[in-house]
Every structure is written in structure tokens, then in C-alpha cells.
């Protein structure tokens, strides 16, 4: 503030002898421009610094735990962790039950949410002027705003209690699918809207039946948008903890039975947090989760770049 006024005075004093108001205005505008630029740079620097700080501290604390066992062995029990800790060694074991569990949950959730989401998105896009479509769109928006713990409760009541009679992969993936669905619906609609109408007409003018216009022209033309939406939805639910606590609980072993509980990386982080002997594993698990999301993002970019649409 002080600096601004002195700077202004300086400009005014150098300009006043020229007696050129227009020039003065331009100067002050240029000054504001510069101040704005500096402010913008400053805040973006803070943001970037924060990101690097997070990554840096995670790596600093977590890197020593990342080894072969980390990706191949299940989480240790608290006793062996304590033993390792007290003798100053790296905690044995890894998070493979969480990694495979997360992949299992997300894959199953995607298998449910992606086809449904795309179909609903296509429907809304095709009938955008109808009331029914508008209602569905609103419901999707509301669903997107529902707290994930609430969705966990719903899945608990609908699946865990009556269907699988206990915590299960299925219940967890249904909860995640419900969270992914609105994201995929909206991203499908938005990316279909980006396809020029003329392309659709070109296909129709060739006598193409309508479902093929959608499958062979609209969806391929908006492929990168659809892919982006799906990967975004996946990375959103990958870190979810609350709904999984109510639906899959966790599992010290690797599990492939759909009606049995399973672990997940964020669930393990929560467990490590609650066990003073295993705190060191939090950091490495967090590094892994972040790396996984990062790889998904890079993959989606790579796919889009390859498709060049």
C-alpha cells in the first residue's frame, strides 16, 4: 500500500511537468497492470509451493518405507511393527491388500457406473429440452453434492444389511459407483455437447440408424472428454475413506470374494493413523495414493493426445 502511493507519486511527479493527462492515465494503468500481475504471480507461487511442500514432506517421510515388500506384502500386525520400530528398522510388510482392494473396488464401481453414466448422459444430451431429462440432470447435480458418508450409510442399509449380510466388496463398490455416477453423467453430456451438430447430420444423411450415430460417431468424437470424465471420477473416489468404512471395513488379507470385506489404501491409512506403531506407513501409503492418481491423470492426457480430438 505504502509502496503503491510512493510509486504513484513518483510517476505523477515525473509526468506533471509534461502536463499530459492521457499519458498519465496510461502510466497508472500500466502500473495497476503490473501490480496485478505481481499479485497473481505471488499467489500462484504460494499454491505451487504448497503442492511441492506436500509432495516433498510425503516423500521425505515415506520414501524409506517404499521397497519391494511395500508392493508385495500385506500390512503388518502391530506387534511386528512395534518390534521393528524399537530396533530402529524399517517396518516390515506392505500395503498390497490395500492396493489390490482399491483396484478391485474401483474396477467394480467403474463397471457399474461407466455404462450407466454414459447411457444416462446420452439420454440427457439427446432429450435436453424435455422435462424428464432436466429432472435427471438436477438429480445428478444433487447426488454430486451428497456427502460421501451419507452414501456410505445408504449402501450399508441397502447392501450390507439385507444383501451381503456383512461388509463386502460389493457394498463398497456400489457406494463408490453412486459417487462416480453423477460425475460421469455430467461429463458425458458436456463432452457430447462439444461434438458439432454437423457431424451428426453427416452420419444421418448417410442413412445411419440412430443408435449407430451415437455409438460410431458421437461417442468416438467425444472420446477424450468421456475418458477424461471417467478418470476424473476414478481419481475422486480412489481417496474416499468414509463410505468404505461403512461398507467394506477392511481386511488384513488380500481378498477376491465379492461378498467378503476388502481393504483399500485410504482405509489402511486410517488404520495406520490409529496405531502408533505403524504411523510411519501413513506417509508411504499417501505417496502411493498420490502417485496413483497422478499416473491416472497422465494416462488420460496421453490417451487424449494420441486421439488428437
Amino acid at each position: 500500500m505504502d509502496q503503491t502511493t510512493t510509486l504513484n507519486k513518483k510517476y505523477i511527479s515525473t509526468l506533471s511537468d509534461k502536463d499530459d493527462i492521457g499519458n498519465l492515465l496510461i502510466r497508472s494503468r500500466k502500473l495497476k497492470d503490473r501490480l496485478f500481475k505481481i499479485a497473481a504471480m505471488f499467489f500462484s507461487f504460494i499454491t505451487i509451493a504448497m503442492v511441492f511442500l506436500i509432495i516433498g514432506s510425503l516423500l521425505a517421510k515415506g520414501l524409506k518405507q517404499i521397497n519391494w515388500a511395500f508392493f508385495t506384502q500385506v500390512a503388518p500386525d502391530t506387534f511386528s511393527a512395534m518390534m521393528a520400530k524399537s530396533s530402529g528398522q524399517v517396518i516390515p510388510g506392505g500395503i498390497v491388500n490395500g492396493i489390490l482392494g482399491s483396484i478391485y473396488l474401483v474396477a467394480l464401481a467403474s463397471a457399474m457406473a461407466v455404462p450407466f453414466g454414459i447411457l444416462i448422459g446420452v439420454y440427457i444430451y439427446e432429450n435436453s429440452k424435455k422435462r424428464y431429462a432436466a429432472i435427471i440432470r438436477d438429480i445428478a447435480d444433487i447426488l454430486q453434492g451428497v456427502p460421501s458418508i451419507v452414501i456410505g450409510i445408504i449402501a450399508y442399509i441397502w447392501i450390507v444389511v439385507p444383501l451381503t449380510k456383512g461388509y463386502s466388496v460389493f457394498a463398497g463398490s456400489v457406494a463408490l459407483a453412486i459417487m462416480m455416477l453423477p460425475l460421469i453423467v455430467r461429463s458425458t453430456e458436456e463432452s457430447l455437447k462439444m461434438v458439432p451438430e454437423t457431424l451428426k447430420e453427416a452420419a444421418i444423411a448417410l442413412g445411419t440408424p440412430y443408435y449407430k450415430v451415437i455409438l460410431r460417431v458421437l461417442i468416438p468424437s467425444s472420446f477424450s472428454g468421456l475418458m477424461g470424465g471417467i478418470l476424473l471420477a476414478i481419481s475422486r473416489v480412489l481417496g474416499e475413506t468414509a463410505p468404505l468404512m461403512l461398507t467394506t471395513l477392511g481386511n488384513p488379507q488380500v481378498n477376491w470374494h465379492i461378498e467378503k470385506p476388502v481393504s483399500a489404501v485410504p482405509l489402511l491409512i486410517w488404520q495406520f493413523y490409529n496405531d502408533p506403531n505403524m504411523v510411519d506407513l501413513i506417509w508411504s501409503s499417501a505417496v502411493f495414493l498420490m502417485g496413483f492418481v497422478l499416473i491416472l491423470n497422465l494416462a488420460s492426457r496421453w490417451i487424449c493426445a494420441k486421439k488428437k480430438i
Partner: protein, 260 residues
């Protein structure tokens, strides 16, 4: 206006009392009757908003994409009413080229040419496909320019080349009639001249109906011309007669640049 219609001869398409409205109040096409002669270029002219596009799209029923549209009258292709045909059959026989070039960006040049077959699930042998692609691209004088990059996407093609690719895509079906809606309005003069030459060339095998609001284009390449005004077909005559001796004062006003 009925001058052309009186000459009972080799017409391929007969529009009979066609009226079209988008919504309840206003007719976009008013009781149009016209016979289109085989293997000619027929131009549809008129100021913008007079119904040219609506009339053209009615000929292969593309206008039905607008949900509330209402159509009366009929269009006979040979002795079949097109409104009784399946749109798939109809659109194979009456192809369409649009104002802006619209090749499929996700398909290679090769696949764009045979897109009609692919999208309709019509299976072709490799040799048949190759033959159709080569013939169609040669027809539009694009073969030499793209024969080495058939299997790459056409994004590097110029606007004029893309438009010729779209004509090739239409020709691949060997249609009887090709409809074109201001196909050169987005192109530069050199590409425009190439498309015009192409249309004159294609006339030997195909019937061409061309919407244009460029009078000199109609004069240069069309054999017959329709003049539409406010949804009405005001005058339909041989291009030469219309340009030298318009019968209706509204046609004359248009041709002398009084409106448009």
C-alpha cells in the same frame, strides 16, 4: 412458374404440393411443386430465410430431425413416394453435402469415403472397398492428392479438399441425386472453382440439386433454376431463360440485386 413442370420428360424427382412448417404458425415452404430433370444441375436461389434449406432437406427427409416439423404433400422419386420409403434406402439414393465440410474427424480418409457402408453395417470385401474408395476419390479429383495418406486422418486437408472428401463420401453409395446446401460458402475462390468444375463433371452421371445464394454460381453451372421467395417457388425455368428473361417481377428484382 410451371414452365419447367409442363415439359413432361425425363424427370427423376417430382415435388408435389409440398408445404412445410416448423411450428404451427408459419409456413417455411408453401405449396411447392416442381419436377427435377435427370442428370442436370438444378439451382435453388433466393434471399436467406426463404426456405431453400428446408426444401432441400425435405428431399432426403433430413428436415425430420426437427421434432415439431410438419410436412404436407409428397415427393416422388420415380414412382415411389419418398415419405413411404425407409430413410436408409432413401438416403442411399439421395445423398447430401453440407454447407461446412464435415468429414468424420475420428476416421481415416479411407474410412470416411466408405463411412456410409460402415455406419450401415454393410459388409464389403477388401477389394470392393478399395475399388469404391479409389473410384470415389478419383471422381472428386482427390485421389492423386491423398493416395499416399489414405489411412491417416484428414485433419491436414484444406477446406476445399475436405469438402471434396464429403462429396466422395456421398458418391460412394452411387446415389441417383446429390443435394448440396451452399457447398462453397465456406471456401476460398480457388476451392470454389474446383467444386464447381467437379459438379459439372458429375452431372454426366448424377442429378444435382444445389442451393446457392450466389447468383453468379447458379448462372455459371446450373441448367435449371428455382427462385424462392418467402417459402414460395416463384419461378422455375431454365437458368438461361430465368437470367435473360425473368417472368416474375420478384425474380427480376432479385436478379438485379434489389434484395437478397
Amino acid at each position: 412458374m410451371t414452365e419447367m413442370n409442363d415439359k413432361k420428360d425425363d424427370s427423376i424427382l417430382s415435388i408435389e404440393h409440398l408445404s412445410i412448417r416448423y411450428s404451427d404458425d408459419k409456413l417455411a415452404v408453401k405449396d411447392v411443386s416442381a419436377k427435377v430433370k435427370k442428370k442436370t444441375i438444378t439451382a435453388i436461389m433466393g434471399p436467406s430465410g426463404c426456405g431453400k434449406t428446408t426444401l432441400l432437406r425435405a428431399i432426403n427427409r433430413m428436415h425430420e430431425l426437427y421434432p415439431d416439423i410438419h410436412t404436407e404433400g409428397k415427393i416422388m422419386l420415380g414412382d415411389e413416394n419418398i415419405y413411404d420409403m425407409s430413410t436408409i434406402n432413401l438416403r442411399r439414393r439421395i445423398g447430401m453435402v453440407f454447407q461446412r465440410p464435415n468429414p468424420f474427424p475420428t476416421m481415416s480418409i479411407y474410412d470416411n469415403v466408405i463411412a456410409g457402408y460402415k455406419l450401415n453395417g454393410i459388409h464389403l470385401k477388401r477389394s470392393e472397398r478399395d475399388e469404391i474408395v479409389e473410384r470415389s476419390l478419383k471422381n472428386v479429383a482427390l485421389w492423386d492428392e491423398v493416395k499416399d495418406s489414405l489411412h491417416s486422418r484428414g485433419n491436414f486437408l484444406s477446406g476445399g479438399q475436405q469438402q471434396r472428401l464429403c462429396v466422395a463420401r456421398t458418391l460412394a453409395f452411387k446415389p441417383k441425386i446429390i443435394l448440396l446446401d451452399e457447398p462453397t460458402s465456406a471456401l476460398d475462390p480457388i476451392s470454389t472453382a474446383k467444386i464447381e468444375d467437379l459438379l459439372v463433371e458429375l452431372k454426366q452421371e448424377y442429378t444435382i440439386i444445389l442451393v446457392t445464394h450466389n447468383m453468379s454460381q447458379a448462372a455459371r453451372i446450373s441448367d435449371n433454376a428455382m427462385f424462392m421467395y418467402l417459402g414460395e417457388l416463384v419461378e422455375y425455368d431454365s437458368t438461361k431463360d430465368m437470367f435473360t428473361n425473368p417472368r416474375d417481377p420478384r425474380t427480376e428484382a432479385y436478379l438485379t440485386g434489389k434484395f437478397g
